[in-house]
């Protein structure tokens, strides 16, 4: 307990919000993709591509905002390749997603050559007036950068659109049963391509959040499995936006806690602490595996319109 004494709970919770944002963004994007019936295992590749695109743009332009725009574009660009492969060339989604990750890791390493060791321009924190002065809560909730809030807004938006809007209904229909949706005259491929692009953009933003705010610098392979954790998060959340947030906080919490324990000089070797987010992910997958019936009906299946 002595150890925990040296950790400031307000700081811990505040950094939890920060640590959870990248996987939250990426997982939300993937959630939309999977609700449309597509399994894109390339999240890791899109995240790392977003990370370097955002970093390069921010460094060159001096504007973190432009960096995030570039990151979204980069992620979506890579996702477009996946869309071409799976929706037009009808390639296997598992293999295509893996290809995307391998390619994204290589591409980001190439693009990032000149950027190792640089510092990105700082992103402004929004210290929301009055609210941020509230003791404890102010620090935990109301003094973050814009992206943290964007992530939260996106959760609400994805939830509302999927549940209440016509577009959400059609997207779910396509994911549930693509033959039936096609028979009703919905453009299955077009809807899926849009979903895939959205997923790519979200993953790109998540990646850029790591390279621009969380770390902030560029190193090869810096996403270190965050994309895969985001994928696991979607399963954990049973394809529900609200539970993605919950899951992201859980993983954010584990990450922050283990970092704090490392810093506090616990007797356990650092490597074993570093394992913990991955082990927790496996544990959560085991616990959540019962709830499998909620996966979208057409998830991962190739759609080929007869005629």
């Amino acid at each position: 307990m002595m150890l925990f004494g040296s950790i400031d709970p307000a700081l811990l919770l505040a950094s939890l919000m920060v640590a959870s944002t990248p996987i939250l963004l990426a997982a939300l994007g993937e959630l939309v993709v999977e609700r449309a019936g597509v399994l894109n295992l390339g999240v890791e590749g899109m995240m790392i591509t977003g990370a370097i695109c955002g970093f390069a743009m921010a460094v060159n332009s001096g504007s973190p905002a432009l960096g995030f725009v570039a990151a979204a574009a980069g992620g979506a660009g890579l996702a477009l390749l996946f869309a071409l492969l799976t929706q037009f060339a009808l390639a296997n989604q598992v293999a295509s997603g893996l290809a995307l990750t391998l390619f994204g890791l290589g591409l980001s390493a190439l693009l990032g050559q000149g950027y190792v060791g640089l510092k990105p321009p700082a992103t402004i924190r929004l210290n929301i007036p009055l609210l941020s002065d509230i003791p404890f809560l102010g620090r935990v909730l109301f003094s973050h950068d814009l992206m943290v809030y964007l992530g939260l807004v996106l959760v609400a938006l994805v939830w509302a659109v999927l549940k209440y809007s016509r577009a959400g209904l059609i997207l779910r229909a396509v994911g549930e049963n693509h033959e039936a949706a096609h028979a009703l005259g919905y453009k299955v491929v077009r809807i899926r391509v849009l979903a895939i692009l959205f997923g790519g953009a979200c993953a790109g933003l998540g990646g850029a959040y790591i390279s621009l705010i969380r770390v902030p610098q560029w190193t090869e392979g810096m996403t270190a499995g965050a994309g895969w954790i985001a994928l696991a998060l979607v399963v954990f959340a049973s394809w529900k936006a609200g539970r993605v947030l919950l899951g992201a906080w859980l993983f954010g919490g584990v990450t922050v806690l283990q970092l704090n324990l490392q810093a506090a000089g616990l007797a356990i070797p650092v490597e074993y602490l570093s394992m913990s987010p991955y082990l927790i992910t496996i544990l959560v997958l085991v616990i959540m595996a019962r709830d499998k019936s909620r996966a979208p009906g057409s998830l991962g299946r190739v759609f080929y319109a007869t005629q």
Binding site: L90, V94, A109, P269
Partner: protein, 360 residues
Amino acid sequence: MLRLEKRPQPSRLWTWLTPVLAVLITMLAGGALFATLGKDPLEAIATIFWRPLFGEFAFYYRPQLLLKGAPLVLIAIGLSLGFRAGIWNIGAEGQYIVGALAGAGVGLAFYPAESWMIFPLMVLAGAVGGWAWAMIPAVLKLRFGTNEILVSLMLVYVAEQLLAAMALGLMKNPDGHGFPGSRNLRQYESAHNGELISGTGMHWGVVAAFIAVIFAHILLNRHILGYHIRLTGQAPRAARFAGVRPARLVLFCLGTSGALAGLAGLFEVAGPAGQVSIDFNVGYGFTAIIVAFLGRLHPVGILLAGLLMALTYIGGEIAQSNLGLPAAAIQIFQGMLLFFLLAVDLLTNYRIRISSREVA
């Protein structure tokens, strides 16, 4: 307007032609990439694909082909069994690491005793290590229904941390003056996986890779188990109808691929790499996925694909030192290869027809 038309059955011709086509397209796209990096594309392509085989220093590079190709083929053969059955082991890199740790651990435990039995024991331990690591996603899948893709992948990151912990802790060379990394197994006769014929690159791992190719070929074409693997991948419901027990297949496919990856790790750590160090693994477990697909999940195809991929590694290194081509360019090149392969694969199962849009 282009239109796809499903073939009544997969085209045999295109099955073999698509990988070749994919390689050619990748060379073109890769050439374009190298050109944008300011390198002469022809020079770069020649450096990667021609020099290692027929250039001035080919005598040095050709053995390298076997050294780099063997682990790729060994792992890819294992993966291909699972991929055929729709069982996705993506964590071969982790199994490779754990196999190496287990095998090297056995060897280091005997140090400095010399006996002919040590190396076989290490091989066994390597296989068991990789097998055990692969059993984690297998058992979790069977017991709880977890997704083996995510679990096996998460275990790669765990294995990497484990490797770091070992290299810096338990297996650290006590005579190493504090440097990270284990004793060098190349200097330990009984544990060393050396060249069997000097100057050829032929070591036990290469032998194992060839045996694996033959074993897989017989399994898939001649044995009911291989038939069941193919059946499960193509029509899972028909497989259950035929009486295939999916659980046994999951255990067999994940177990075999884990054991082969573990073997590859052991042969690498006891041979070319020489010691357990933080970064002795260079991503063979992931590249093997490309090899498996490029070889069409076919044993002989994988053998060829593994050699080709080894060539890009070696050629890439030459291009790196001679032309200053960044290492990442080769990684992209390999990624592109898989991309184009998946794209042109369309031709195997579909015909592309040009249909004129009807005039109303």
